[in-house]
Amino acid sequence: MSAVHAEIRKLLTLPSLLVTAALTAAAALLPEPAPYRQVGFLIFGVLSATHEFQGQFRTSLLAVPDRPRLVAAKVAALVAVAGPLTLLTPATSAYLLATTLTAAGAGLLLRRTLPSVAVTLTAYLIVGPLLRARFPASAPWLPDTALLQPSRGAAATVVCTMAVLAAAVAVLARRDAA
């Protein structure tokens, strides 16, 4: 529990995360178009993971040496912090939360903020919509379909989040810390 508590405090006290959260909330209230709503959550997720790798990660591991547990604590803290934000748009809140976690997983895997932001934004805003436009049959397999058609892509969203987080746990448990 104390690990989760620590992670929540980290999330709530970082200026860059607070700014992102404020912008995310503002963007979430935009009526249209739907794809923009997820941008803030993607960045929030990435930053929540990558800020550790700017000099803090070894200290975190000193406090919580069990790496899978550290990732679990991070996920729990992110749910606790980003959860209320997603409630601004109740219809898509589950999707946005899953997407935030996917972005955090990507951040844990890639460790650097800029590449992680580039990869997640490109995947969700450019590759996803392009693939859907060219091959409509691919829609149920893409993680970002659920934002537009909640009944169609929900499974893909959940599977994608699970897969990325599992990969993050596996890689983090094996890799040198920083």
Binding site: L114, I126, P129
Partner: protein
């Protein structure tokens, strides 16, 4: 100076990701799109922009280059020296900031121009191979326009990142704007003047078709150059005056 900046830029893994992604994305899209496009052509689709319209996606690579050439200077170098940034060493080697600014810009222009030219030629050649030589004629003017668009967009990313001193802001802005629902495009629904925003007006340099009102390519190029020059000037003032 320029050679140093080139070596620094080409030593970054993210820059290579941008180079490879940017160069391969547009030709790949031609191939992926080929069956659907053949059908569309058979049904009498307007083919003026065939081969050129796919170039847009590769621009992401140029933007990434423009961002990392600055953001790499501002990120922390390692865990053992918190707070240390490459910029400190760079400014020690070249304390004249305007020279540094120009050298970085020159390195970026060289790399993105080479990349843009390669991608444009590759994409048009591939389109001709896939759809026949009649649909996408070689046009030196349009390819030059596309390369110029490419370089100007990279310079725009460079200017914004230099002002923000943080790559995430620029990358978010530019990717959101380059996405399928572009902000600039939405603005054109509100006011016709939005067609003169840098990213939209620049596309007129190499695209001829489309439902929108046409802006002559040279005018379009001049307007976009003016936008980018203004942004670069703003960034230069900030970089010159501000604490590093």
């Amino acid at each position: 100076m320029v050679i140093v900046e080139l070596r620094k830029l080409l030593g970054l893994p993210t820059a290579w990701a941008g180079l490879i992604l940017g160069t391969l994305a547009a030709p790949a899209l031609v191939l992926v799109n080929a069956p659907a496009m053949r059908r569309a052509i058979a049904e009498g689709r307007d083919v003026t922009d065939l081969g050129y319209q796919n170039l847009g996606i590769g621009l992401l690579g140029a933007m990434i280059l423009g961002v990392v050439i600055v953001s790499s200077e501002y990120t922390r170098t390692g865990d053992d020296v918190p707070g240390a940034r490459q910029l400190t060493a760079t400014l020690m080697a070249q304390p004249r900031r305007m020279r540094l600014f120009a050298a970085k810009g020159a390195a970026l222009v060289l790399v993105t121009a080479a990349q843009g030219a390669l991608t444009a030629v590759l994409t048009v050649a591939l389109t001709r191979a896939v759809h026949g030589t009649s649909v996408a004629p070689w046009s030196a003017g349009r390819i030059t326009g596309a390369v110029l668009y490419w370089v100007l967009l990279a310079l725009m990313a460079y200017a914004i990142t230099l002002a923000a001193r943080n790559g995430v802001v620029t990358l978010t802005l530019l990717i959101v704007n380059a996405s399928v629902v572009s902000v600039s495009y939405l603005l054109t629904k509100v006011t016709g003047l939005a067609a003169y925003l840098p990213d939209l007006v620049g596309a007129h340099m190499f695209l001829r078709g489309g439902p929108d009102e046409r802006i002559p390519p040279v005018t379009a190029g001049l307007i976009m150059t003016a936008w980018v020059a203004a942004m670069l000037a703003g960034a230069a003032v900030l970089f010159h005056r501000r604490d590093a």
